[in-house]
């Protein structure tokens, strides 16, 4: 364990990854202090004005908004839109800060559940083999043959709008990779003699999978999972951008980007006029994905026993 930490800290790229990740974790935890909510539902993005057009960074809260919040009994401490406002006067800064929580939630929940489904089906397929393997892997193939984004979109459209629906869709079409990976590594680990030794001791199948196979095969899956957290967030953002994600006004990075959709090209003669509407949400997403990828890379270097030369 100490060795893992030492390794993480000794490498520049992994250090950058870890610091970035830490940065996001801090934002998520301290969101109520960084950007105090003004609605009862903290995920409802604070609006600085009723204007449709985005406003540049530093834009102060419009008086009519202040009146609204004060009538709700809220104290307005933060009255400047630090990163400007998005379409509809939504405060970009607020949306990004609270969106960090959403990003973690979407990323971790989808990855954990799809990993569970993948690992269970993959390890059962690999361990028992025969027709069970055949059946499970054909199902996997069918799921894999459907384009991910399209499938997720169709499913979300059927289920209805909402972040939880997006997560269901992402899980339903995101587990196959894990099943493949774990199946492959269990198939090779199954040949190891300690598996035969465990059987010779009279160990039950379930215990063999849980105690002997998974601890020796789970690491490539964990590495893949940590990298996937980033890409899941991107996909969720893409779904939001396409209009099937979070409900209007919900703090979600995808939503922030989708707010910018109509303003990306700027105004005639001033292409960069609304740069902040795209730039800030974009940079958050990029850095978030990057941090998970760097961490995943490091995990792979550390956990791969072949690279370590220990086994």
């Amino acid at each position: 364990m100490n060795r893992i930490i030492k390794k993480l800290l000794s490498n520049t790229t992994s250090l950058i990854g870890l610091l970035l990740l830490l940065f996001f974790v801090v934002i998520a935890i301290f969101a109520p202090y960084i950007a105090p909510p003004l609605f009862d539902d903290p995920y409802q993005i604070v609006r600085m004005t009723w204007d449709i057009e985005p406003r540049p960074p530093g834009f102060p809260m419009a008086d009519e908004m202040r009146v609204v919040f004060e009538s709700l009994g809220k104290q307005v401490d933060r009255d400047k839109a630090l990163f400007g406002t998005a379409q509809g006067g939504y405060d970009i800064f607020y949306g990004l800060i609270w969106g960090t929580r959403t990003a973690f939630r979407v990323g971790i929940i989808t990855v954990v559940f799809s990993m569970l489904i993948g690992v269970i089906s993959g390890s059962i397929a690999a361990y028992f083999g025969g027709w069970i393997d055949e059946l499970l892997m054909r199902i996997t193939d069918i799921f894999l043959s459907i384009p991910f984004l399209v499938a997720a979109m169709v499913l979300t459209t059927i289920l209805g709008r909402g972040l939880d629906k997006v997560m269901v869709a992402l899980i339903a079409f995101g587990w196959m990779g894990y099943a493949r990976v774990i199946r492959g590594s269990i198939l090779s680990t199954k040949q190891e003699i300690y598996i035969m030794a465990a059987r010779a001791l009279g160990v039950k199948d379930f215990r063999i999978i849980l105690l002997h196979l998974l601890p020796n095969t789970i690491f490539p899956v964990l590495v893949q999972a940590s990298m996937n957290i980033g890409s899941m967030v991107v996909t969720a953002a893409a779904l939001s951008f396409l209009g099937v994600g979070a409900p209007l006004g919900y703090a979600d990075w995808g939503q922030m980007v989708s707010f910018a959709r109509n303003w990306i090209i700027g105004s005639p003669g001033n292409a960069g006029k609304y740069w902040y509407a795209v730039f800030f949400p974009g940079i958050f997403i990029v850095l978030f994905v990057l941090s998970w990828n760097l961490v995943g890379d490091t995990l792979r270097d550390i956990l791969d026993p072949r690279l370590r030369g220990e086994l």
Partner: protein
Amino acid sequence: MNNRLISVKNLVKYFPIRKGVFRTIAGWVKAVDDISFDIYEGETLGLVGESGCGKSTAALTMFRLEEPTSGEIIYQGENIARISKKKMRDYRKDLQMIFQDPYSSLNPRMKIKNIIAEGLVVHNLLDNKKRMKKVGEVLERVGISANSMDRFPHEFSGGQRQRIGIARALALDPKIIICDEAVSALDVSIRSQIINLFKELQKEFNLTYLFIAHDLSVIKFVSDRVAVMYLGKMVEIAPTKKFFQKTMHPYAQALVSAVPVPNPDYKRHRILLPGDVPSPVDPPKGCHFHPRCPKVMEICSKAEPEFIEIEEGHFVACHLY
């Protein structure tokens, strides 16, 4: 002689070869092809043969780690070839195995104490405290300090890992242990330590061994009786002394003559066999050894020789006798 501990009768193990889209069975690998032998209590039966002769498969099948295609395995009056998997699990603590590769036979992510206690846990023997005491005892017995039970396999050398593998088998107080090439992968100076350990443990715990090896010098040293397999068949079984004084089967003779002896002055007639071992998918008709046999006769390609007792305890499958 002592009591029969385990009897193998007409044991057969074929592996299917599947081909094509529909995975239809295109043929069979006849790994073990109708072999019979007994193992007596307290003895060491040495099983030799070259790679692919089916000796390891025979052992795995005998313990139901591979399902036998047909045949009987009589242990404690019961045919364990035909009992349910669940019932077989109860017998497993009597029947233990030690494997060749000390590097892949221990789970790299488990501590030594958990590796050794595993059998006790799954058979629900002893409470946790007594288990750890037992683990300590068997570790000390095989020559590893009980203090190192919290360490992981990679912290040990090959010889030490093999000792740990022995301790794992020993923890269950087994009746019979199959040593599948258990000393083959070890260095010369370590090998003799482990061989001596096997012998000591046998005396101390009245163990019975099925000792599988390809090295006849080791077999000669450890075994009370020697069994030779060729291409899925048993070709000769005899008490060790008799076997080396009067080797009968032409294959066994060639095998004995091919063993390198660490003595530059050791002169003998070396029988060089032509060609390679044929594939067990399509073994030669009649006696499996006839295409390579220096004493081949006409009958050999037609009829399969029976495995008969020539002298007391000396069985051979050859038309010469």
